[in-house]
């Protein structure tokens, strides 16, 4: 990463008359002039006027102030920032996929439909579910879709009283937010000191008004919810369904499946477990799977497989007509972020059944290795074998006044991304670390050494840590000013 801040905005490079495009003339007569002028805009949009090289240099320079997985290590808890193999990018960029219009007839898109269908089948096997839809665009969109599926299921039974969703207090913020968008009321259930759901606190909450219980396993402190069979039984006994937030699926690859644990509906974040790039915040993909009996509630459109006259498989799009009256309708324009799905398919093919299992196990090993290597200097509130991630409650020595935020910012100076901080909300100084399986022992050791160094600095020269970062392209931004007086466009500057 370039430590020199670039900082220009493209509008500032604009010079009247410059142009960065070339378009083919088609020789047809102008038609705009014939349109009623009051249906056209009166003032041109104020967009930059720049040549191609200016555009290229501008965005290239900008990119050098950015940190990505290809730049360095992201110990970012609950985000599963693994390496994104390059072959996946290339396969998703094949023109025979990128040029397809979604309205093309099925006969002309058999390869694309088969790719979708194949991934859907693979995810069903990995999740232990009966069927998946790949249509949701992101994890939170998957949660929303899954909760809609659950509501559709209750509605189909005439069970209209179920208006509540129970989520653990350690849940990702998207869980309660998705419930609210789906029209459900959120009830929080407390966690035990070891971070697992308090079964006794859950029991009295379960009644005929509960639509679903949302959980992630391992949970957000990286602990496997070993009471899950009992919880599943309780949830089902009250007539509710159990939802699996797949954000933390990575460590269970090849080891255990949500479907076998009693979960009814789940989503998977392809941009976490299945290595599709985060793209600076998206596009992601949040496929949703359901157990047998719930398939009919999945959203439209879906990809259906038939056998052609010659015995070959034939795929086509179904809009609910073949799956009965309860299909959810649409939650997306088409089949989701299709090009992201292609990347995940390439990833699963590359790893295969054994590679996937090894990925999950090594992710778990890496997390435990870091935990055990730092526990003497950082406070470990939950001392157990963790799965893909674990949480420190800040430095053990609190007397220095160095906070989790300071440690995170100091890591930036050393060329690492920060861990997830102040989440989960169970601890005051949460510092959540998830290394993933794609980091080498050398990288982990380097990270451990830096974390130990920061702990030493916190004791010896605390101000250095408190003033971090010092080596990044910019220094600490004034967030309060940004929120008090939002400047969100160039025109506002």
């Amino acid at each position: 990463m370039n430590k020199k801040y670039y900082g220009k905005v493209i509008f500032e490079l604009s010079r009247p008359g410059r142009q960065g495009y070339s378009l083919p003339a088609n020789g047809c007569e102008d038609a705009l002039a014939g349109l009623p002028s009051d249906l056209l805009r009166t003032k041109s949009p104020e967009l930059p006027e720049v040549d191609e090289l200016t555009v290229v240099r501008h965005y290239n320079n900008m990119s050098t102030n950015n940190f990505g997985v290809d730049t360095g290590f992201y110990p970012l808890g609950s985000c599963t920032m693994k390496y994104n193999p390059k072959i996946n990018e290339e396969m998703a960029s094949l023109p025979a996929f990128t040029a397809l219009h979604p309205f093309q007839p099925s006969a002309t898109v058999q390869g694309a439909l088969e790719a979708y269908y194949t991934l859907q089948q693979m995810l069903s096997e990995i999740g232990g579910m009966a069927e998946f839809t790949l249509n949701p665009y992101a994890g939170a969109h998957g949660e929303l879709t899954g909760l809609m599926v659950i509501r559709a299921y209750h509605e189909s039974r005439g069970d209209m009283k179920r208006t509540k969703v129970i989520v653990p207090d350690s849940a990702h913020g998207t869980n309660p937010a998705s419930a609210a968008v789906a029209g459900l009321k959120v009830v929080e259930v407390k966690s035990l000191p070891d971070g697992t759901v308090d079964v006794e606190a859950l029991r009295p909450l379960l009644d005929e008004t509960v639509a679903a219980v949302m959980m992630t396993n391992p949970n957000t402190v990286g602990i496997f919810e070993h009471n899950i069979p009992e919880i599943a039984e309780m949830v089902h006994a009250c007539g509710a369904l159990l939802y699996y937030d797949g954000a933390n699926l990575n460590p269970l690859l090849g080891v255990a499946r949500p479907g076998d644990m009693g979960f009814d509906v789940m989503h998977i974040n392809l941009h976490k477990t299945f290595s599709t790039p985060h793209g600076g915040g998206g596009p992601g993909s949040g496929p949703v799977g359901v157990r047998a009996g719930l398939e009919q509630f999945l959203p439209n459109p879906r990809v259906v497989k038939h056998t052609g006259d010659n015995g070959d498989p034939l795929f086509h799009l179904d809009f609910g007509t073949e799956k009965g009256p309860h299909a959810l309708g649409r939650i997306s324009a088409w089949l989701g972020n299709f090009a992201v799905e292609l990347r995940a398919l390439a990833y699963i093919l590359s790893l295969g059944r054994d590679g996937l299992k090894l990925a999950g196990t090594l992710a778990t090993l890496n997390a435990n290795y870091i935990k055990e290597s730092l526990r003497d200097l950082y406070e470990l509130p939950i001392d157990r074998v963790c799965k893909h991630e674990f949480v420190f409650d800040g430095l053990t020595d609190k007397s220095t006044g160095v906070t989790t935020l300071n440690v995170a910012k100091r890591l930036l100076d050393h060329g690492f991304h920060a861990p997830t901080i102040y989440f989960p909300l169970l601890f005051h100084e949460s510092l959540m670390i998830e290394p993933t399986e794609t980091e080498s022992k050398e990288t982990l050791d380097e990270f451990i050494a830096v974390m130990r160094d920061i702990a030493r600095e916190a004791a010896e020269t605390p101000d250095v840590v408190k003033n971090a970062p010092l080596e990044t392209p910019i220094r600490k931004p004034d967030d309060t000013a940004a929120a008090l007086n939002p400047v969100v466009t160039f025109a506002d500057l």
Binding site: D479, T480, A482, A483, L484
Partner: protein, 125 residues
């Protein structure tokens, strides 16, 4: 003669006759840090004791406002729209909403200044 009461969730209501001025306590504003926005109800809205009626936001946190008493909103503090940091400057005089109390007996369930101070002390530990 006005008197101030506090709720466990750190709202206060200063009562003058059947009018109550509701805001957040000094302890709450300190805990929240720089206030950047106050989400307020509208004139005429009915507040129900114990239910949320808005929120106070800092940069990286938001704190729901729970009504200490029930009542109809007769005025909101419009100064807070442009200058939410008034709450940091003086939380007690910069009330958020003015309500007409519907059930003054609800005040009996709230804390007086002394009890509230003890409540805050207990929360710190």
């Amino acid at each position: 003669m006005s008197k101030t009461y506090y709720s466990p969730s750190h709202e206060y209501v200063t009562v003058d006759g059947n009018i109550g001025y509701i805001g957040i306590s000094d302890y709450a504003q300190q805990a929240l840090g720089n206030v950047v926005y106050v989400d307020m109800p509208e004139d005429g809205d009915d507040l129900v004791a114990g239910e949320d009626f808005g929120a106070v936001e800092s940069v990286k946190a938001a704190s729901d406002l729970f009504a200490p008493v029930s009542g109809a909103v007769v005025e909101i503090n419009e100064q807070l729209i442009d200058n939410p940091r008034l709450i940091n400057e003086d939380a007690m005089s910069n009330w958020i909403v003015k309500v007409e109390l519907t059930d003054p007996s609800e005040l009996d369930k709230l804390m007086d200044e002394e009890a509230y101070r003890a409540h805050c002390e207990a929360e710190k530990h």
